[in-house]
Amino acid sequence: VTADPTTLSVAALGRALRTRALGAVEVADAFLARLAARGERVHAFATVTGDEALSAARAADAALARGDGGPLAGVPIAVKDNCAVRGVVRTNGSPACAGDPRAVADATVVARLRAAGAVILGTTHLQELALSPTGVNPALGTPANPWASDRMPGGSSSGSAAAVGAGLAAAAIGTDTGGSVRIPTSLCGLTGLKPTYGRVSRAGVTPLAWTLDHVGPIVRSAEDAALVLEAIAGDDPDDPTAARLPVPRYAADLERSLRGVCVGVLADVRRGRVDPEVGRLVEEAIAALGRAGAVVTEVAAPTLPHAMHALGAVFLPEADAALRPLLGERFDRVGVEAQILLELAKLVSARQYLAAGQVRARLYDELRAALATADVLALPTTPVPAPAVEAQVVRVGDGEESVVQVLASLTGPFNLTGLPALALPCGFTAAGLPASLQLVGRPFGEAALLAVGHAYQRETDWHTRRPPE
């Protein structure tokens, strides 16, 4: 008896499809049926491309029957609605773009998924213009956190995480400028990867901040992240920042021992402002890595406290410069919160923007030095579990802070430095909310990073937990 396809990982679905235990049309039908039953409540999807998905599934079945299906043949995947999907209106999470013409071509990431045989189910909601990490979108609706509907899903790739968490897609594509793949991954109890800057092409993705933008998968396991990354990574003539480096066989290189692997723990973060329950669960995860053979050591990055200042000084003016011309006359239809953020960008001086660039260089040198000793760094993905949907501030340590600042405080440093970062579920708080371990690797060191994540998931079962129906 084969399990319900909507409960399976990308890896398990791939195995079932290749052995013909499941058919691609059968899998697509199962996901579309679940979408029909639960889609409205979860509110993950902006557009469902059901007919196109079934057509792609039929093609995948034919290819699999011939024995030449791609690596993701028949696997249903959703795409954040700031990526161009042929024939679909790209809303960018904003009413200002909801009346735009349909895309005439796919973003490179979508084209690569299709080339690998994936079945594109549709596009997923996001925070307006991907500008903030809460996932709350008053204009187009807030996707439901699968673990607690009164809690933020996290953003900006809120719909991508909600879709995977609710079993409405086997995997989803997100974008990450200050943590927008990893934050919803953390709050929704999933696995998500922000690859190295330049590892995945951004061609056809709405720009937010050119020197911070990344594209990555939101999935259920490190193994799934490896499978999706392998399909979407690589050079692209349409993106001048795409790295001209070969793409390793990430999935084939996952089975490594942790014996002798050095895990660096950032001392300032360990003793910093982190919710006590999240801190304890992350320490338990690090201890689990140690029990599996890893050597745990403390490392330092003295510039880290300046990272969030630098993130604001880079993010705001780059977003303003990218989005205002793109929106043109539609800017007046952008929501108040997004308009205010773009207005505040005017307060950042050229001197501050350049100083932020210097902070980035210093922070990168410190993290590279730490990664000369350590194979990976370990820290929480978010300092807090999912806040209440309406929260403006959250309590961390002995005080309250802006929820936006807190959510991005431990992810933003790796957008500034471009280092790859993997978020993995590592337990639940007493209130039943997920906590997340973040592992950070060397430049283009995704293979080693994913192998450590996979080894952690061999030792634990947090990634197999499913939210209540």
Binding site: A243, H309, I340, R351, Q352, G418, P443
Partner: protein, 64 residues
């Protein structure tokens, strides 16, 4: 005595930024940490390091 709100209003005016008056006090509070962070960048001792260029630097240090 100049209040934080007045200073915020002056700062917006100097930068040509427009925030509706009705929500100015709320925005001033929410933007406070960001503005303090921007000011703190001026005190960052960068030792003359060149600003980060991610594509170039990460490629140079690539360790696949």
């Amino acid at each position: 005595v100049t209040t934080n709100l007045e200073r915020f209003r002056e700062r917006l005016a100097a930068a040509g930024a427009l925030i509706p008056e009705a929500i100015l006090p709320l925005v001033a509070v929410m933007a406070g940490p960001m503005l303090a962070g921007l000011d703190a960048l001026a005190d960052f001792d960068a030792h003359g390091v060149e600003p980060f260029r991610p594509a170039e630097r990460l490629m140079r240090d690539a360790q696949p």
